[in-house]
């Protein structure tokens, strides 16, 4: 008589996965990544606190040297990006705002146009899109210029001259980028709102300018202005802090600069998205 073989024991899926021993190298890799992530958080966090401390205590120290540097950063990250941001706002208005309003009109929900515009454009898309444009155009340049300065020993030269590198190099960039992203976001939103109506007008949607702008105005609350200012300034501070940290924190060799730039972009995007998520919580809680 043939002996019946015992049916194989079936483990639940998760238990089965956990029962398989992971290769040591994989565990080491994951451990290293977690450790590296925590180190980065610690490094950027400490750098941000130092920068905040220096900004609060030394804002007016040597103002004849540092304030022109702040203006130069506002010019570089704000004024020079204005044409690009205006074009971006125009496209955004035509593609997103115009189509949304047109669609809402078709389904008879035009009374929500203002709410949708404020939520999508003013609270979310405007600040984040502007921050990404500034990161791409200016943030990457900051990593490269500070990385090269560090590689060429200019930072040590500043220290030898008794000039605090955080005060001279980082503070103007943080304040400049915060102010620039705020201003550019306002311009982006204005251009997008107007170009959105242009699309609506060209599509023969029966929506009067007074109704269009009235809906937007009535959907806006005073907190939106405060939070827009806070959010854009936070994005600017995050981008400037992360890019300056990646450029200055360690002495880079020339071949390290490109990798540091990539790291700075990834960390800045992650930081801005996390900050954005926190601001969404504020909007939801109010």
């Amino acid at each position: 008589m043939e002996k019946e073989s015992a049916p194989p024991i079936k483990l639940p899926l998760l238990q089965g996965v956990l029962a398989v021993p992971l290769p040591q190298s994989y565990l080491n890799f994951v451990g290293r990544q977690i450790f590296h992530f925590l180190q980065t958080i610690q490094g950027v966090g400490s750098f941000a606190l130092i920068t905040l401390g220096v900004t609060l205590t030394k804002f007016n120290v040597a103002w004849r040297v540092t304030h022109p540097l702040i203006r130069a950063q506002v010019d570089r990250a704000g004024m020079r990006l204005l044409p690009g941001i205006a074009f971006f706002g125009l496209v955004l208005g035509l593609v997103i705002v115009g189509q949304t309003v047109s669609l809402l009109q078709k389904v008879g929900a035009e009374q929500y146009a203002g709410t949708v515009m404020v939520t999508v454009l003013i609270r979310e898309l405007g600040p984040l899109a502007t921050a990404l444009v500034v990161l791409a155009r200016v943030g990457t340049a900051i990593v490269i210029e500070l990385g090269l300065s560090r590689a060429q020993g200019e930072v040590e030269a500043l220290e030898a001259l008794g000039i605090d590198p955080v005060h001279y190099l980082v503070m103007p960039r943080v304040i400049g980028l915060a102010a620039a992203i705020f201003s550019l976001t306002v311009y982006l939103i204005l251009v997008a709102v107007f170009s959105g109506y242009l699309f609506v007008f060209l599509q023969d949607v029966p929506l009067l300018p007074g109704d269009y702008f009235g809906q937007i105005a009535s959907a806006l609350a005073w907190e939106d202005f405060v939070l827009l200012g806070l959010k854009t300034a936070t994005f600017g501070a995050i981008i400037a802090t992360v890019t300056c940290y990646q450029g200055l924190a360690q002495r880079l060799r020339l071949e390290d600069v490109s990798e540091a730039t990539t790291r700075a972009v990834a960390q800045s995007v992650a930081g801005c998205v996390l900050a954005d998520a926190l601001f969404i919580l504020v909007y939801l809680l109010r």
Binding site: A62, R64, A157
Partner: protein
């Protein structure tokens, strides 16, 4: 008269002092470059410190300037122990020491010559470019850079950049000037200019209100300094080897010295 001057020098307090100092490499903190340095710099002295490449001259000099803490021992700047000095006082003490880095002086390459020289003055005295112009003009004249004042330093060759670094180090009227290998790669005319200018600064130049400047220069070739400097030392095999004055240098039996002075 000379004897009286020498006695004054002996009793004057040291401007900078290293006591039992060991220095680790800035790039690799675990690697000791120089150990057990006991050294004092007094007002008006003129030191030439020789050492082969990688002997730790630059790290020794940045430690002397107070930019790097020693791995062991005590460092004094103008009678104050730097390790325990609060940051504002440490910065104030460091401003009394000028430092000229090697290889073109680590200038800010995007700035003009005038902006480079004016920056420390403008930052520490919070003055406008116009207010700094007079002090800067004197130093540009001293260093022969007046014609290059509005030129971006990145466009200058190394020997002129080194001069800009000298002017920048002098703009805050320091009491001590440290120079890291200032004669490397210079032609004989430039070399003579440097040695003559340093002599004049050590004797008391009008641009520094005739106050004698204490000088310390590191070098990998002691020969040009033999007739100019007055105190000599070597960094050799992690050791600090004091050689004394010119007579001491000539009479020294230090075997490493022969390598430096050999043609």
């Amino acid at each position: 008269m000379n004897l009286a001057a020498n006695n004054d020098a002996v009793v004057s307090p040291p401007l900078i002092e290293l006591s039992g100092v060991s220095i680790a490499a800035a790039q690799e903190p675990g690697v000791a470059l120089v150990e057990q340095v006991n050294w004092r710099l007094r007002a008006g002295e003129y030191w030439a410190v020789g050492g082969l490449q990688w002997s730790g001259k630059s790290d020794w000099l940045t430690t002397v300037a107070g930019l790097q803490q020693p791995s062991a021992g005590v460092h004094f700047l103008f009678g104050q122990e730097t390790a325990t000095l609060p940051q504002p006082e440490l910065v104030a003490a460091r401003l009394r020491v000028g430092l000229v880095f090697e290889n073109g002086g680590r200038l800010f390459t995007q700035m003009t010559v005038e902006e480079n020289v004016a920056l420390p003055l403008r930052y520490h005295r919070n003055c406008s470019p116009e207010e700094a112009r007079e002090a800067v003009a004197g130093l540009l004249e001293l260093t022969g850079l007046t014609a290059f004042a509005s030129q971006v330093t990145g466009q200058l060759n190394r020997s002129w950049r080194q001069r800009v670094a000298l002017a920048r180090a002098l703009v805050l009227q320091p009491e001590v000037l440290l120079l890291d290998n200032p004669l490397t790669g210079l032609d004989p005319r430039q070399m003579r200019w440097w040695l003559d200018t340093l002599d004049a600064l050590n004797a008391g130049h009008p641009s520094l209100a005739h106050r004698p400047l204490a000088l310390v220069a590191t070098t990998d070739d002691l020969r040009p300094w033999q007739a100019r400097a007055r105190q000599f030392a070597l960094l050799q095999g992690r050791r600090w080897v004091p050689l004394g004055d010119r007579a001491g240098l000539a009479a020294s039996g230090e075997t490493a010295l022969h390598e430096f002075l050999a043609v």
